[in-house]
Symmetry: C2
Subunit: 217 residues, 2 copies
């Protein structure tokens, strides 16, 4: 019974890693939509998000079936609870990518991002996408080195967001609405990155048994 | 054994409800800090958030002890997993209140919110606080009427946020930085409200066994 549970649990973790990769695709597509006012890319991002939500619902249902049908011991339950929690993180990542895609759709055919900020958002998009890929790798490998890489990437996102605020607070000729859009978009990327870090922290916890202190933010 | 587990589980749910009330206090204090540039209120909000995080860590630890020491059946486990998940929602509510308080601190002694927007933010603060109180009531009562009230309140928050965007997109003489601040603050209140709704939805699910369809956002 325990072997079977473990096999099913490993399959659930693998599904979770695949969903983190779907979140990576969703934010990549959303960033293209944003920077190029590309409606087709926006639609692909939304579709990735819908697929992600559908498969998360199935994963959660599987997790509850595992609870009901097999009698997992406490350590396995801990992993199972973590899988359910991380599912919520990945769901948010998909929603945040969708918010970015929606912003591109709402302003189309205008480009939301002023030229000056394109490099900042391009880099934010690249790092965020890489973080989702790395979170998936950490889930698959349970390797602490994969998890540790996320911290440095998160620092990059924070730095880019500060650069964004400096631009808005400086000589900003693009008006209030564009400033509000840029601030919210920066927030979406930042939160996407935070969720990837949360996945890495949970993997570290499962491997080492030591909770990562979550900084009050 | 099962009776003991249920007693402990009920205690955990009660703790969770208390923490939702702490989140209500945190957003009330943060709103005072925001509207009146009141540093002492900001500090009280931060302190509520710190207390909330500390008690959530303890609650999570208790939940895992329950898994380890008692042999819960599947339906009880489902409640336990829900308790852990809702803990994450309440943690976010505390963080969002802290973000609002930090914004007030960062801009002090200036008031962040232009006069014109004070009524919008005052009402957002009141509704958000009430939603946390109502989420706590839903957790304590497991009453679907308590849970249902949250949906209407959430509509109010969405309406207020639209009003906020209309102001920013209209004749806005306050500059780009103030627009960015206002947009982010509106987002914090909206997310706070979303988490309260998620708590209510989970309560409905525990009571009725029917998952509330989460709208893709």
């Amino acid at each position: 019974m325990r072997e079977e549970f473990r096999r099913n649990l490993a399959a659930a973790e693998d599904t979770l890693a695949g969903l983190a990769e779907t979140a990576a695709a969703a934010i990549e597509q959303a960033t293209v939509a944003l920077l190029e006012a590309d409606l087709a890319a926006a639609e692909r991002s939304q579709e990735s998000n819908r697929a992600l939500r559908q498969r998360l619902t199935e994963l959660e249902s599987t997790a509850y079936d595992l609870l009901a049908l097999q009698a997992p011991v406490a350590s396995d339950l801990r992993v199972l609870v973590t899988v359910v929690r991380l599912g919520a993180n990945i769901e948010r990542m998909g929603s945040l990518a969708a918010h970015i895609a929606e912003t591109a759709e709402r302003r189309h055919p205008a480009v939301v991002i002023p030229d000056l900020l394109v490099p900042v958002f391009r880099q934010m998009g690249e790092v965020a996408q890489q973080m989702a890929v790395d979170a998936a790798a950490a889930l698959r490998s349970r390797d602490t080195a994969d998890a540790a890489r996320l911290e440095a990437e998160d620092d990059t996102v924070d730095r880019l967001r500060l650069e964004l605020f400096r631009q808005i607070a400086g000589d900003w000729p693009h008006g209030a609405e564009a400033a509000a859009d840029a601030a919210l978009l920066g927030r979406y990327y930042e939160r996407f990155a935070d969720h990837a870090v949360a996945i890495a922290d949970a993997v570290l916890y499962l491997v080492t048994g030591v909770a990562v202190e979550v900084a009050a933010e």
